[in-house]
């Protein structure tokens, strides 16, 4: 199985991974504290612009990736809107009780989850794991021991996927069937987990021995093949985010079209 996606390299790929991570986390936390619905609306438009035009992937893939977040949007929107509390009733039928407040609260929550999805995707699609760990080792003095454990673990993942597949075939050949009861589900988990864990632990152990045999010492000084530094792109990215936030703030104060300003929790 190969899970390779090809993309064009855009300037976003060249932003220092640690800077990118920190800025996106700051934006993420900042947005949690803001409850102006128009701000979120404008911000999601801005992010979509970055997502679709600056990550360098084909639209087919980009749309496919947003699918789970759209599902989350719909589910959080509906659960909030249909059953929320409020004074101005818009529609009521049986259990459903849609009020103006709950409608906007649901919309707000849905948009928020899309924003978080997009932030995560923008980061994940434009950052190689190897560069991220090299950068955190160089810029933030992350211990090589930890960084390399992650990088080695990432190498294990496709092997595990392959093994799950073989395991499924082997169970078929040996005529293993699972019932749909709780104990059947437990059995299924056990049959898959034990061999996969045993294999992975063994492999991780072998890998760590091989790494130490190659004179890897988790703490000692080392040089870096990839020199990851700060550059122009980091400044661009910073400016882009600040401008984006300013524009959203401006639009939010001057062009609000929904009757609600803030969504109070």
């Amino acid at each position: 199985m190969s899970w390779e996606l090809s993309s064009k390299q855009t300037w976003l790929h060249h932003v220092n991974p640690s800077i990118k991570l920190i800025l996106l986390v700051v934006v993420f936390v900042g947005l949690l504290l803001i409850d102006y619905i128009h701000f979120h609306l404008y911000f999601v438009i801005g992010l979509s612009f970055i997502y679709f035009f600056m990550t360098g992937y084909s639209y087919k893939w980009l749309l496919l990736f947003t699918l789970p977040f759209i599902v989350i949007f719909i589910s959080s929107f509906t659960s909030m809107a249909f059953f929320g509390e409020g004074d101005k009733t818009l529609y009521q039928f049986g259990l459903f009780h849609i009020t103006e407040e709950s409608l906007y609260r649901g919309l707000h929550l849905g948009i928020r989850s899309i924003i978080f999805g997009l932030l995560g995707l923008i980061f994940a699609l434009t950052t190689k794991p190897v560069s991220l760990f090299y950068s955190t080792m160089q810029q933030y003095k992350l211990k090589p021991k930890i960084a390399y454990s992650f990088m080695a673990a990432i190498r294990l993942l496709p092997m595990i996927a392959e093994e799950v597949n073989t395991l499924r075939q082997a169970m078929k050949v040996r005529g293993v069937t699972f019932s749909h009861t709780i104990s059947g589900i437990y059995e299924r988990i056990r049959y898959y987990a034990v061999p996969i864990l045993a294999q992975s632990i063994r492999r991780a152990h072998r890998m760590s021995i091989a790494m130490e045999a190659k004179q890897f010492n988790g703490n000692r000084g080392r040089t870096y093949y990839y020199q990851i530094k700060y550059g122009r792109e980091d400044l661009f990215f910073c400016i882009l985010l600040i401008c984006g936030i300013t524009v959203c703030y401006y639009l939010q104060t001057n062009f609000s079209f929904l009757p609600v300003e803030r969504v109070l929790h």
Binding site: R155, T166, G175, A210, Y224, Y226
Partner: protein
């Protein structure tokens, strides 16, 4: 002259009165074991499976006890300052995803300035003749032989005095094996090399000394290869080492069996798919009852995929008709043994593993028990029947995986590289068993790289190239026959 003599005698690696005991084991793995290797010497360590050859190699390198804690003691030892260690499994000795990053990992560890790295990486790749169009290539894309050569390149970056090779070709096909040994001979002429290997044919001319240890962990013989092969041949065969004439001696007694031309499986216009990609195509071919088919071809050409298609494990188009009566118990009719035995164990003990296969049979409990004991006996697993399958040695696991499938006596047995990485003793034991199943009328289809199985056991060969069955021919005593008879059976792809 004297200087040269001194140089020759200088010890590179040595241990004296070594004692090693694994926790929870009753006996010592090594007891009062001494060994010394002079600088520049090429040494081959052989011995039966489980004798502790790999453990010894790790002790000589210092991996035990520095990285792996095993209780051990020795009165005196000299370990190399700089060593390189190449492991058996190509997939679990790299920690980075790309070729250049993997070598860079070693260079970083030894604190080479980053500006020198690209040139050095190219140099080490050239040293092992691994010419890649782009050094930033995914390691997953390399064949097994290339991966092992990359492993050698990355240990060369450590500039080792001593090179330890721990069965580096056990998981490789013939071509990969040759590539690896050619590389070793190229790069290691001035280095001390210590090799553990049970296929000794390729390294026979390269090594200066063969050291043989027995299952009690004592040194039984040591000497020049030619002398050893003449004087201690019985030990080689006793310990299951692949020495040059082992096949001829094995085959003296074996003989082939009868043939019936009764179609067992007929395949027409078969296509096998994985992730919607067509990976294997067969135009038309028949397997007769009692055939022993070997499926050969390069790595990744689609041999295993063909087996999976026949066993209905992947999506197929086209027609496969079997000579079975009803479709209900398909996997009772056809047994499939995977390459990795660990992934097909289901229960917690060896005994239950066999019992599981018989749970749907109509046999009485006594009859089941009798059959299981018989099977355990044939596969030499009776002494471990209460153990968990994961506690077995690699050879035992492999035997158990075959025993668990064969106990239901399927009519067709599909085997994916059953003898891969096994020593001679295990291989012959398995082949004897397959031969007895075959004599009793079972049809066998086997993916293998082993020329000797093709020559001495199989009666039909299917060649796979680039996802297509290009040739299916009957094999007879001489090539002349096989060419003529091939016409009747052959399938011509377009």
């Amino acid at each position: 002259m004297k200087k040269l003599g001194d140089f020759m005698a200088e010890t590179a690696v040595s241990v004296e009165d070594l004692k090693v005991k694994f926790p929870n084991e009753k006996s010592f793995l090594f007891k009062d074991f001494s060994l010394s290797v002079t600088r520049g010497e090429k040494v081959l360590l052989v011995g039966p499976s489980g004798a502790g050859k790999s453990t010894l190699l790790k002790i000589l390198a210092g991996i035990i006890p520095n990285s792996v804690e095993v209780p051990m003691k020795c009165t005196d030892c000299k370990l190399p300052n700089r060593y390189g260690y190449v492991f058996q499994d190509p997939d679990s000795q790299f920690c980075m995803p790309y070729v250049d990053e993997e070598i860079a990992f070693v260079l970083e560890n030894t604190q080479i300035p980053p500006d020198d790295m690209p040139t050095l990486i190219k140099k080490y790749l050239d040293d092992v003749c691994l010419s890649l169009p782009d050094i930033h290539t995914k390691i997953d894309r390399l064949s097994g032989g290339m991966k092992q050569r990359l492993a050698i390149a990355s240990v060369l970056a450590l500039q080792p005095d001593v090179l330890f090779l721990d069965e580096p070709t056990a998981m490789l096909d013939e071509e990969g094996t040759k590539q690896v040994w050619d590389t070793v001979m190229n790069i290691a002429s001035d280095k001390t090399v210590i090799i553990v290997e049970h296929k000794i044919e390729q390294v026979f001319d390269f090594v200066d000394r063969i050291i043989m240890i027995n299952s009690e962990g004592s040194l039984v013989a040591s000497g020049e290869p030619e002398v050893m092969v003449h004087q201690c041949k019985y030990l080689f065969s006793q310990y299951g080492v692949w020495y040059p004439s082992v096949w001829q001696e094995k085959l003296k007694n074996d003989k082939q069996c009868v043939e019936v031309l009764l179609p067992e499986v007929t395949i027409q216009q078969l296509k096998g798919y994985k992730n919607k990609k067509e990976l294997i195509r067969v135009e038309e071919v028949t397997v007769n009852r009692g055939d022993w088919v070997v499926i050969t071809g390069d790595n990744g050409s689609g041999k295993s995929t063909l087996l999976q298609a026949l066993a209905k494990l992947i999506k197929t188009k086209g027609e496969i008709s079997y000579s079975m009566n009803n479709d209900s118990n398909y996997y009772g009719y056809m047994g499939y043994v995977f390459q990795n035995p660990e992934l097909q164990f289901i229960t917690d003990t060896v005994y239950e593993e066999l019992a599981f296969s018989l749970r749907n049979s109509q046999l009485s409990n006594d009859e089941c028990d009798r059959r299981i004991m018989e099977q355990l006996n044939i596969f030499q697993l009776d002494h471990v029947k209460e153990k968990h399958p994961f506690q077995l040695s690699v050879g035992q696991m492999k035997r158990l995986s075959i025993a668990a499938i064969a106990i239901t006596r399927p009519q067709i047995l599909l085997l994916d590289e059953p003898t891969f990485g096994q020593d001679a003793a295990n291989t012959f034991r398995m082949l004897d068993y397959f031969a007895s199943l075959h004599r009793s009328g079972m049809t066998i289809l086997m993916v293998t790289h082993d020329k000797n199985i093709r020559e001495h056991y199989a009666n039909t060969e299917w060649k796979i190239r680039d996802g297509m069955l290009t040739d299916a021919r009957r094999l007879y005593e001489t090539d002349y026959h096989s060419d003529r008879m091939g016409v009747r059976q052959s399938v011509m792809g377009t």
